[in-house]
Symmetry: C2
Subunit: 402 residues, 2 copies
């Protein structure tokens, strides 16, 4: 059985592939193990942060009203009545008019004082502090609860946990963190011409590039790749490999076969087990892409050429995988630049051209779409929209970075 | 003993910290385990890639000279003499004038033919193929060795291995990949005011944010963080913790203490074991940073405020850690944008202002430097150079993305 569908636009392909994403499960992990994971619940502050009026400098806590008009030649003169130690409660200290206390950075400002004079602008003579600048109300103090209030949501479900988010989780005492489980992505290579990397290919055979390229890409998005190796272009073997992957994984990526017959076999086996939703995308390179599902599990057929496969991963399949990780953060920002040469394109399909971006602009790296060397020499892709006949020298362009 | 040095400029601090980086060792890893690692040797192609003249389309291989002047109304008429199967040698096939053979995408083009007509522009009638467009010499063929020649260096030592590089390694048969070992980075938190994340802080204590923030940052750069927990601000305990870290790790990050006395203690203990090279950087926030070494191992004292610590990590310490991973690729590109508001700054120090970048431009998120909430709300930093008094509305700015 052969399954033919009309070629769809890239936007439509993205919508259809996102709709297939299964909802990720979640698990609790210790705070030290969450780097790069995605938060699966909103997190609230358990306490006010800071829990006290905190000095952000080493200096003298005082009443700002006592320093009105102070200057180098007419310093305010305040009586030093004590010293706050780190971590200690300032309760025993006076906040009385005309007085001051020494507070280290991070120390508590006693009640009654509303500012801290930096030590650099003060002079200590006996137990008198000369303050040589006027203080504003609140100067050099973070008030109790100013950073976060107890009960406030500090991080939303769906955010990816980098250093800043991890720091905030620590601050609010979240030592066991609810995160989405890592999706397991099966990777199959098909094609009778494909040989393992350990072999020297003979005849018109080629090594299995896509298993490793796809694996690295999937891992970079925070998924777990599971390699099923090279499956011969033989219907029963392919059915068995697909069924094994479906039983164990959350999505299946099949790369190749690169010829029409092989693609038709892939589509027909997917159709038997579920449905082929897209067979052909108006994108170059990458047209012979299949989007389908089997038993609710997304099954994607990628083009056989490694460069085409990577572009389809980056432009289309990324939206599926990101949704499966639960990541709601906006994708990577496009870099604005300018074309240093004309980039011709065919109307009616989105074209992704490998480019070298420098401070001066964007130079297209032309070359046949099957080359790996232009792929590694490029540092990004320029999209030429489906409705356009190309980009002219001097036109503004947006670059997707690798 | 107290160690005081002059405050140095950011550029000088970066030069000094890079000079401390120990040379990383290397190891061999299987191709499926190298995602995100750094290559430690140049890699050469073991064979020509492709190893044969390869068709990049499904179509008919032919002599381009046989199709001169061909068009819709006057097609070239070629005799179909055979069919190439994927992975098979084309040796038995004729490349004779006036003839053609069917070749699938990725199949070998027989000797004698110099182009492939896409099937979309051909019509098959009996055993005659009508070719409705003229072919150029080399059209739709990647020649033997056109992508990479045997013996050519395909990847250089020092490149970080993403999907593209991993694909190239597979293509050249590199199934065991030489990569740099992952540097082990000790992380210590100091300060009597610091309590574990599992505790509710009382008095003017705060939870240990920096251990987790630093750990996540270090991991994101491809290093292995090793947490030594909270060390009390007590000289002997601090010495013991530092010695334990030095015995086991390739670099040591000490965050806090935030007050001058604590910083002096940190500097003096480092000085006893090696040398303090920098004590104070002309950067805001982040001035109280220490760069030192003990027994050849870099020991870095970070500011106690989490936001300051992260900015120093991102602007200065990154250069040490990247060099330790062996990564020679250029750092992340700065995003060019425009200031939507004035950003005042003090002359004489580089200032890093948290900003929100949108398509319209950059809005500074003002607020005291100790706040976490502006840190998580921002998506980047704008650098105001040391020689400038600030950025004016409408000025071009470059953004470091988080």
């Amino acid at each position: 059985m052969s399954v033919f569908l009309e070629t769809v636009l890239v936007e439509e392909a993205i919508n259809r592939i996102q709709a297939l994403a299964p909802k990720p499960g979640s698990e609790l992990l210790p705070l030290e193990s969450i780097s790069g994971r995605v938060l699966s619940e909103d997190i609230m502050a358990d306490i006010d942060i800071p829990g006290f009026d905190r000095s952000v400098v080493d200096g003298y806590a005082a009443r700002s009203s006592d320093t009105t008009g102070a200057g180098e030649s007419v310093p305010a003169m305040l009586r030093l009545t004590g010293r706050i130690n780190m971590g200690e409660k300032a309760a025993g200290q006076s906040g009385a008019a005309g007085s001051c206390v020494y507070v280290p950075t991070g120390g508590e400002v006693p009640t009654g004082f509303d500012a801290v004079a930096m030590i650099e602008y003060c002079e200590l003579i006996g137990d008198t502090v000369l303050v040589k600048r006027p203080l504003a109300n609140g100067e050099n103090i973070i008030l109790c609860g100013e950073d976060f209030h107890a009960g406030e949501i500090v991080l939303k479900s769906g955010c990816r946990l980098g250093p800043r988010e991890t720091g905030v989780l620590a601050a609010v005492g979240c030592d066991k963190v609810p995160v989405y489980r890592i999706p397991r992505i099966a990777i199959l290579s098909t094609g009778n011409e494909i040989v393992p990397v350990t072999e020297v290919p003979t005849g018109s055979r080629v090594r299995d590039v896509n298993s490793y390229l796809c694996s690295s890409y999937v891992k970079g998005l925070g998924c777990e790749p599971i390699l099923y190796g090279i499956v011969p272009d033989e219907r029963v073997a392919f059915q068995e490999a697909l069924d094994a992957a479906l039983a164990r994984c959350d999505a299946v990526l099949i790369s190749g076969g690169s010829s029409k017959d092989e693609r038709d076999m892939t589509a027909s086996v997917i159709q038997e087990r579920g449905a082929v939703l897209v067979h052909g995308i108006a994108i170059a390179p990458g047209k012979p892409t299949i989007i389908g599902q089997a038993g609710g599990i997304p099954v994607i057929g990628l083009p056989g050429h490694p460069a085409s496969a990577l572009i389809v991963l980056k432009v289309v399949v990324r939206h599926l995988l990101e949704k499966m990780t639960g990541d709601l953060s906006p994708g990577p920002a496009l870099v604005k630049s300018v074309a240093l040469e004309n980039i011709p394109s065919m109307k009616g399909r989105e074209e992704y051209v490998r480019v070298l971006v420098t401070d001066h602009g964007v130079t297209p790296l032309f070359g046949k779409s099957g080359l790996l060397n232009t792929l590694v020499r490029s540092n990004g892709l320029v999209r030429v929209p489906a409705g356009s006949e190309g980009v002219e020298e001097g036109d503004a362009v947006e670059v997707i970075q690798w």
